[in-house]
Symmetry: C2
């Protein structure tokens, strides 16, 4: 597999082209740090976009959900999907309203989804989805039974057409604005885990495991 | 304006219908807490989705960006957009893989965008966009000049067709799974501001204002 994605008319970053990144390693590091995507598809020519969890294994992205889901059933008919993953890193505060921006890392990918039907592969995809959100969780919980597997639709999208867009660093103001008495810089934003709240029905003596106590995303 | 959105075939929450919310107040509280949306549109029948900032004033959503932006120019041709706003509140950790979920508040809305061209309205929309992200920022910075206004495309989308989907609370496991020795509950996730980093070119004596020092989203 090539280490860079081919640049296609759809994935070529048009605006602020210097922010475009086609390196597979960069794209995958963004996919691996995030776990929520926005999946878009067209139905009768009209756009739909829905938030959903995802997982990645090698060069495949997995989505899952109820077998009754409108989105997943639509994608399973072989229509093209556009999927966007966005990590917001901070607010970029300039001296002029015009030069305000955000620091972010986003991936946009295109592909056609196919349902994962082979039982072992489907179970493995569900493991990937679970462990993508909380590494190690799969081995701590009851895995899906046959009825649950039937109720779950898993879709695979090959990672063949994708690009990232990344902004980092301070604001860039017009030279003459640097003399304005305006505070300018970056306000970092981070997704932070809070205190675990058990559901009140824990078997006595069971403690939260380390992967939850010290939850953090891979960087 | 009615206090509830009409339920249309597109906005009716199909999966887990009890999570659907059509109340305008709830939808607007989600829009006001967030400032990043994912905007989807169809181009030649194919879906595109892109992350972008937004603002809201009354029953209008505003997007903006470079007048050269592919997305904005496409939307300005009168095509329909689907816009999704998602706030992630936590990971829902069940005893079974199947019942894992997330706590979230999301809005999906549909509408046709039109360019805001009247100069006063355009300036006001840019104020709304700026103050939506950092309340009070507009009055602290240099506002756009004529050249910057020309380089900026502002789109307005009427808030007429929208719904929210909300999940809160602990995991719901199958009754027989409650005897498993598995920790279950919620791991809250919050977007947290970090320490302000100035850009190294601040006019001596200028301090960061309170709206940045104590930055928080409206709840």
């Amino acid at each position: 597999m090539e280490s860079a994605f081919p640049v296609t008319p759809r994935t070529k970053v048009m605006r602020l082209a210097k922010r475009g990144v086609y390196d597979r390693g960069v794209v995958y590091s963004i996919l691996d740090e995030a776990f929520l995507c926005h999946a878009a598809f067209s139905l009768d020519g009209k756009p739909f976009v829905i938030p959903t969890a995802f997982g990645r294994k090698d060069d495949t992205l997995y989505l899952h959900g109820s077998a009754a889901s409108r989105m997943l059933r639509t994608l399973d008919t072989g229509v093209e999907a556009c999927i966007c993953v966005t990590l917001l890193d901070g607010l970029v505060l300039a001296r002029s309203a015009f030069h305000h921006s955000m620091n972010y890392r986003s991936v946009v990918l295109f592909g056609t989804a196919t349902a994962v039907k082979e039982p072992d592969e489907k179970m493995e995809a569900l493991r990937v989805l679970t462990d993508h959100i909380v590494p190690g969780r799969w081995d701590q919980v009851r895995i899906p039974n046959e009825k649950e597997l039937k109720q779950t639709l898993v879709l695979a999208i090959p990672l063949e057409e994708a690009s990232a867009k990344v902004r980092t660093g301070p604001p860039i103001d017009d030279e003459e604005d640097y003399e304005l008495p305006v505070w300018a810089g970056v306000l970092p934003l981070t997704s932070t885990p809070g205190a675990l709240a058990d559901d009140g029905r824990i078997v006595p003596g069971v403690q939260p495991p380390d992967n939850l106590l010290h939850y953090r995303r891979p960087k």
